[in-house]
Amino acid sequence: MKKIVIAVVVAGLLTLPLLAAAQDKYPSKPIEITVPFAAGGSTDVLARLVSKYAPKHFDKPLVIVNKPGGGGITGTEAVVRSKPDGYSLYLGQGSGHDLVTPHFQKMPYDPVNDLIPICRLSVHSIVVIIRADAPYKNLKELVEWGKKKDQVTASVSTKAGSVDIVFQAVGKATGMKIVTVPFRGGAESVTAIVGGQTDCGGNHPSEIISHIKAKRLIPIAVALENRDSAIPDVPTFKELGYNVVAVGSVKGVAAPKGTPPEVIRYLAERFKKVCEDGEFIKAMKDIGQPVMYLGPQESAKYLKEGFEQYGKLIKEFNIKLE
């Protein structure tokens, strides 16, 4: 009898952690989402919108934390190094420091293998813009005008970033001599082109949507495979006869390596629901960001292709930091 009691107690004790685990059904507390950029930027705004519409679809709230620094490396590393329990995620996977920077510098983590993609939320395409009062009104006219000039200046958010690389490709494809003028981030480069400091510029639609509406800036070509649904009237370079294609800046969600597959599945499913929410889609449209959901496997594939594509372009144009 005594033995049985002991056996039952022992069995009970042994199953306790299991029970506890069962009670601890994921998610049992708020999920922290790190945005490795400053608050107020386009990735941050995306994250805030997601967290605004998340309560309808997630069992626990999503808490946004900004950890800017190192062009995104600092915050991403913090997620890579955190516990893979599904409570610390990274939003913004596929940004410059994931797809472009590793081709130039040694990273403190492995950007491909240390993170598991959960889903893709959006793609920030690169669109070439001109001022509405410029002597050229479209890409064809810009090229005609530009070819007669010694140089055509283009404002870009940062040296050797995705926009800079796209302009190298534009220069080669069109035969213009393009000189990129780097600014400190997208907002400053927009200000420069709005103020007419440069002949043209390159930005993500969300950065220029208000100026497009105000008819101060005209978007003339998108460097994507297909048109960007945030600005559906703007043709792609391919349509216009120039082979300039880039994946842009991808905005995905990722978890540290070692996060349980069922957690990844849960998250991917819930983010999908947010992406199908009509109100969320409408809000995203208002800020010039297309909703482009992809599941975990497809995301991983898309990111890998993007990474290789930038690597090829960097090699082709021999872009170096010095």
């Binding site: 400053a38 608050a39 107020g40 930027g41 941050d44 705004v45 805030r48 919108l49 967290s51 605004k52 946004i64 934390v65 900004n66 950890k67 800017p68 620094g69 190192g70 062009g71 490396i73 600092t74 590393e77 130039f104 510098q105 403190p108 010694d150 140089q151 200046t153 940062t158 040296k159 050797a160 000189v179 990129t180 003028v181 780097p182 600014f183 400190r184 907002a187 400053e188 927009v190 200000t191 420069a192 709005v194 103020g195 007419g196 400091q197 440069t198 949507i209 208000s210 100026h211 509406k213 105000a214 101060r216 809000a283 208002d286 800020i287 930091l321 010095e322």
Partner: protein
């Protein structure tokens, strides 16, 4: 005439909105929160607004949430001076320069007049800024857009040359500090080539050293180290507190500093690349230049508090102009408000005023109200703050260090920055020991990178020709002013020498 009529009608409508119970409550909440984050070292308005962003969706109406956020932003400019004056720790980036003379005033028992004058100057400047926002916003914003890299270069160069006397008595010591400031300012990615400079492999340094972290370490923590050595027994920062309010002489000394500070702040605040920090530095340099008592600067000149504190408030208000009229955010805190508007479905830009007049005029009107609230809130606090100096240093110092650590951490959620602050604390301590003044270092640290970036951007635009600095009208005018200034200086020196020769 119709234009003016429209403005008044809009403003009237705005007051109607801003004076609703909800909006007035949130304006007050913003003002109180702003004053608090201004006082707390490190924690700035941008970080606070980002923390409150999720809450702002729940407030519902975009006007109400923007009224609150705007209150936080300009309220922080009021509170920023408090710790600068009392304990030599800038509460906010735009109050760094206030440390120099504000703290010296406190040591002389004149913390009350310093804080009082800062509050009054802030109110005057804030009001001038809002008047500008009300009546001349759109044309001024268009003008500010004409400022490109060549203009920023010429303007900064002019500012630097005029401010060369910012250092103390020794030119050599001043130069050492300028060079150090330039070096520290060049840490991080090269703005044009993208090369990594002076980061010792630490990617946390790739975006450069944070200005607030550097200033808090060098001024505040350095001062505490210095005092630890001196004050071993429990002692007060200052025993004597002469009087609480600015005297008539203080008024007379400061009134033009307030006016100049307001105008400088307003003009620099409109520029997309300007902002409160630069305007406060420029105002300090100008005050030192025009003062009848330049020797007093660094030893507790009230103009050195009144000018910069006015300038940062005017700049904070003016930076709403490019946001509301063009949709261009000029600094981190304004960028947060920009994001908040976007998330609420309001796109700031040229048609905000026509499409959403309630948002535009409601926010503008709330600023008039918020400024009055802040004055009423801050003046009685002066007495309270001054009492803080009666707290024994053995209690005050650890509390200050604690708040500094929390504040620095809050900026980027980074422990690394606390270490950076500590290191600059040690450096600041050494500077104090050997009598090096941090003023020129701060100026070079802020302006050096602008100078470097803008000259290289401008030369890229012009394919390498320096003519771009002279052929563009605004840049050319600034360069002409610089040359005139230099010629005038040479003439003055000659005359001095000749007089000396005669005598």
């Amino acid at each position: 005439m119709g234009e003016i009529f429209n403005i008044f009608q809009g403003l009237l409508n705005g007051f109607d909105i801003a004076l609703s119970l909800t909006n007035i409550t949130f304006a007050l909440i913003g003002a109180v929160l702003g004053t608090m984050v201004g006082i707390l070292p490190g924690l700035g308005p941008a970080a606070t607004i980002s923390l409150l962003l999720p809450l702002s969706f729940k407030i519902g109406s975009p006007v109400t949430s923007i009224i609150m956020m705007a209150g936080i932003f300009y309220g922080a400019m009021y509170g920023g001076s408090t710790t600068s004056v009392l304990v030599n720790i800038p509460g906010e980036a735009a109050s760094v320069v206030t440390c120099i003379d504000g703290y010296q005033m406190a040591l002389k028992g004149r913390a009350g007049p310093a804080l009082g004058m800062a509050a009054i100057g802030s109110f005057v400047a804030g009001t001038i800024g809002i008047l500008g926002l009300t009546f001349v916003a759109p044309p001024l914003a268009e003008f500010a857009l004409k400022f490109g890299p060549p203009e920023y270069f010429s303007l900064t160069l002019l500012g630097l040359v005029m401010a060369t006397l910012l250092g103390g008595d020794s030119i050599i010591k001043g130069l050492i500090m300028v060079v150090l400031g330039l070096l520290l300012g060049s840490v991080g990615l090269d703005p044009i080539s993208g090369a990594i400079r002076f980061t010792w492999g630490l990617h946390m340094l790739q975006e450069g050293i944070d200005f607030v972290t550097l200033a808090m370490g060098m001024f505040g923590i350095g001062e505490i180290f210095y005092n630890l050595e001196k004050v071993l027994k429990t002692e007060l920062v200052t025993r004597k507190i002469s009087h609480l309010w600015p005297s008539l002489k203080d008024w007379a000394d400061s009134k033009w500093a307030v006016v100049r500070g307001s105008l400088i702040g307003f003009m620099i605040g409109i520029l997309p690349g300007g902002g409160a920090v630069i305007s406060s530095l420029v105002s300090y340099a100008v005050e030192k230049r025009v003062a009848k008592n330049p020797d007093e600067f660094g030893k507790g000149a009230i103009q050195g508090v009144a000018g910069p504190e006015s300038a940062n408030n005017a700049a904070a208000t003016a930076s709403f102009i490019p946001l509301l009229t063009l949709g261009i955010p000029g600094n981190a805190a304004i960028a947060m408000i920009f994001a908040a508007l976007l998330i609420q479905g309001v796109t700031p830009g040229p048609f905000l005023i026509t499409e959403k007049p309630d948002v535009f005029w409601g926010v503008v009107a709330s600023m008039y109200i918020g400024n009055v609230m802040l004055l009423i809130l801050n003046l009685p606090m002066v007495g309270l703050w001054v009492q803080l100096l009666r707290v024994p240093y053995s209690i005050l110092a650890p509390v200050i260090v604690l708040f500094c650590c929390v504040g620095v951490f809050s900026v980027r959620n980074s422990v690394f920055d606390i270490w950076v602050m500590g290191i600059f604390g040690v450096i600041g301590y050494i500077f104090r020991k050997v009598g090096l003044e941090p003023g020129p270092l701060i100026l070079a640290f802020v302006l050096g990178p602008i100078l470097e970036r803008s000259i290289r951007q401008a030369l890229l635009m012009s394919a390498g020709s320096p003519a771009i600095f002279f052929t563009r009208p605004i840049s050319g005018a600034l360069m002409a002013a610089l040359i005139l200034f230099l010629v005038f200086q040479v003439y003055l020196n000659r005359r001095k020498q000749r007089q000396r020769g005669k005598g």
